[in-house]
């Protein structure tokens, strides 16, 4: 094991960012985890203090700091409301990477990230087999939501009601896609994201329908790799770097106007996290990353801003479905996008938007946080569940497949017949409802 003094030295590069934390404690009001536990180590102020102490060598227990840093949803709620604008996520992700670099990655994570995630061929091959076997291990539990639960006690699945892996992932259904610009005069690169590709390909399918309807050309290479956030949040900088570079190779210098993703987390990772993690990359790569980050857009943001409506047709309210919207943290807090997805819902025929209490309160998923701290994740989710149920909505919509998994689990366990939808699915349904119900967008009129 390396010298702890070297670890402290590496952490000191975060000093300029950490020193801006004035320890005011206002993050206690924003943190969904702290709301459950009331422990200072769970809130940003406490975690920053621990990293500072490790850097100053007044604490020499990197394992203890790592365990506490890992108890975090990386939702960014604290950063979004921080009075002095501390870049909390930048600090946490870098600190996780530095400390993990020092302690070493656990063998399981090494196998998953370096063996699977960084090698899409192996990753896809394993997941291609999984749907065939999952029926043996899982049984359907909720028809509205299409969830399953474990048939017998499983240490990995626990009591989760999960959305099963799709029979065919999106990249396999479609293969390589490269269509020319249509009437919109635009062409986009499509970044599917792992969860949409393998769990919710229906979201990708509906996105394609919408893009085709609006005459947008699509470039989607059959081979895509993960955005890297699961590896980075576990501190695996090596795999993260490899995935970023792989992605650059796939998408840089392609003749597209935008890179679209239907996943809030992928969008935020590419736009926000790639650029700040790339500070020590060679200049040329940094440029490529900044170019790609600037081109990257959430699907709903793209549709809402590119194809605005002249007018929304009046509808008989009794015929519409009530939809409530959950703000994914990585759209609202990381990218400040909250109105555009809502505008797609209000403009979709047959949908009425009903707001829930605290729509931007984290759902508790937090990526791998849900895997490691399922009980806490569920407790945080309970508040979201209550807010959704109170709206009496027919469906809850959001723009993030990870949130969709958590919301599905919460609603399924509560046995609620409330559907979970991606906003683009509602918009696409509106298209199918027929030309009479569908308002003409400006370019067509």
């Amino acid at each position: 094991m390396a010298d702890i003094h070297e670890l402290a030295n590496s952490l000191q590069k975060l000093d300029n960012q950490m020193v801006t934390c004035m320890k005011c404690g206002m993050c206690q009001a924003a943190c969904p985890l702290y709301a459950q536990t009331g422990r200072e180590t769970d809130v940003a102020r406490g975690k920053i203090a621990l990293v500072e102490n490790l850097a100053a060598e007044t604490l020499k227990d990197p394992q203890a700091v790592k365990e506490r840093l890992d108890r975090c949803l990386l939702c960014g709620s604290c950063a979004a409301s921080c009075p002095s604008g501390v870049k909390v996520l930048d600090i946490f992700l870098q600190a996780r990477a530095i400390i993990t670099g020092y302690l070493g990655l656990s063998p399981t994570k090494k196998a998953i990230f370096r063996g699977m995630l960084a090698n899409p061929k192996i990753f896809n091959a394993i997941l291609n087999l999984a749907p065939k076997f999952q029926k043996i291990f899982a049984q359907p539990v909720n028809e509205t939501l299409g969830t399953s639960c474990a048939r017998f006690m499983s240490p990995l699945l626990g009591g989760r009601h999960f959305v099963p892996l799709a029979k065919t992932p999106w990249h396999k259904t479609m293969g390589h896609v490269d269509t020319p610009k249509g009437k919109s005069g635009l062409k986009i690169g499509f970044y599917t994201g792992c969860l949409v590709d393998k769990v919710f390909p229906r979201v990708a399918a509906d996105t394609f329908k919408v893009l085709e309807y609006h005459g947008v050309g699509i470039f989607m290479p059959a081979r895509q790799v993960c955005c890297g956030i699961p590896a980075l949040s576990s501190g695996d900088r090596k795999t993260f770097d490899r995935l970023v570079r792989d992605n650059l190779e796939i998408f840089s210098d392609k003749d597209v106007d935008y890179l679209l993703t239907p996943c809030a987390t992928c969008t935020a990772t590419i736009k926000k996290i790639w650029p700040f993690m790339a500070e020590d990359y060679p200049e040329r790569e940094q440029e490529k990353i900044h170019d790609l980050a600037a081109k990257t857009l959430d699907v709903c943001e793209f549709v809402a801003q590119t194809f605005p409506f002249d007018a929304v047709p009046e509808e008989d309210a009794s015929n519409t479905r009530k939809i409530t919207y959950h703000d994914p943290c990585h759209l609202k807090k990381s990218l400040n996008i909250s109105q555009k997805p809502r505008s797609l819902i209000t403009q979709s025929p047959g949908c009425t938007l009903v707001e829930m209490a605290d729509p931007d309160r984290c759902c508790g998923m937090g990526g791998s946080f849900n895997l490691h701290h399922y009980d806490l994740s569920q407790k945080i989710g309970d508040q979201k569940l209550r807010s959704i149920i109170q709206t009496k909505a027919d469906a809850v919509a959001t723009c993030c497949p990870a949130c969709m998994m958590q919301l599905t689990d919460l609603l399924s366990k509560a046995n609620m017949p409330i559907q979970v939808k991606h906003v683009i699915e509602l918009y696409a349904q509106g298209l199918q409802a027929g030309a009479t119900a569908w308002p003409k967008h400006k370019e067509q009129s």
Partner: protein
Amino acid sequence: MASPSLIKEFQSLLGTENVMTEEADRQVYAYDSAVLEPVVPELVLRPPTSESLGKIVRLCNENGLPMTVRGSGTNLSGGTIPSKEHGVVVVTNGLNQILEINTEDLFARVQPGVITAFFARTVADNGLFYPPDPGSQTVSTLGGNVAENAGGLRGLKYGVTKDYVMGVDFFDVEGRLIKTGGRTVKCVTGLNLAALMVGSEGTLGVFNEITLKLIPPPQASQAMMAVFDSVEKASETVSAIIAHKIVPCTLEFLDQFTIQTVEEFRHAGLPTTAKALLLIEVDGHPVQVEEDAAKVRDLCTKQGATQTQVAGSAAEKEAIWQARRDALPALARLKPTTVLEDATVPRSKIPAMIRAINDIGAKYDLTIGTFGHAGDGNLHPTILTDRRDKAEFERVEKAIEEIFNAALDLDGTLSGEHGIGLTKRQFMIKEVTAATLTYSRKLKQALDPNAILNPGKIIGG
């Protein structure tokens, strides 16, 4: 030193998860929001019930462990930094129940760990009003508010926390429950011990339950902004408003540096050439509000305001108060370290105080933005610095002392609402007599002979 058997006893009383002994868990209770060196406690306890709270007070006393009670650790004067020797931090956020909201007799009973803003919201949901609104209200606890006698933006008209404390039940050092005050408007039974607890910063007892006064909410309100080309004119306007027997619920001041910083931060169109802004809100019966608002606007104009703007909609009102809320965050972003002071002067002395602050800033070559509660003379000179720059930080400390001296020369006080804690205790003697300190220390020694209740705070010792 807490022995293993004592730690076991704490664990059986509170549950293992509420007794924090690991270094990484203790280090995060070493600081609060004051710019001071952290002190790592030996033990952190988080009692889940009031019975267990009383028992741990007794155990700490019997074992000579000095205890510092902490709500959310937002203290700006170091009042929640534990003792250097064998310090124990007692966290109250496990005691967070609102026990009663009585809409007939207009009071509420709460545990000390209830969050201020949550309480105020719940009271409002019951059709009533709890006015104290310290800047940290979204996270601060009511126990902490009472222990510090917290203020806020509504101090001018509605008073501060002490004006709402009807009773405090607390544990003495032997863990006995002391009941004080009551649920009636009038109550002269015995010594006014509840009042003694207010602002005692955890040095005299450990709060178990607090009874707070509630009032009916105002029916209407009106906000406005007045722009001035001199601090004097703004300050004279404050005096003129009060002299005309109008008491706004909020009367806030921003100096030019703060205005410019907020504008750069928010781009809301604030007048950056203005020397001072007053943000004013009047509330009460709709007819009265309309009349008061018109009078205040006329007074502002008469006193030389270059521009007045009355909020015509909820959004405009929101924009006015956003400017005030932005003051601290906008200033805090300029430099790594923010030292927020709260020296307070009689409101007629505000121009002199602001001149003094600016002179001190120039003398020590420091960046200071000043904003605050002009209506009650409670200004917040905010020094922007970098605590890693030792030479500059020494100048900051000298400047703070001179700000205190200036406030006292103007018949003011060291602290309007942040408390004395550790940061201002050495200056106490400048404001009170030696006999005052002796009297206070005797009181403390009699009630806490082993010096285990947040020793060293306010009066030293």
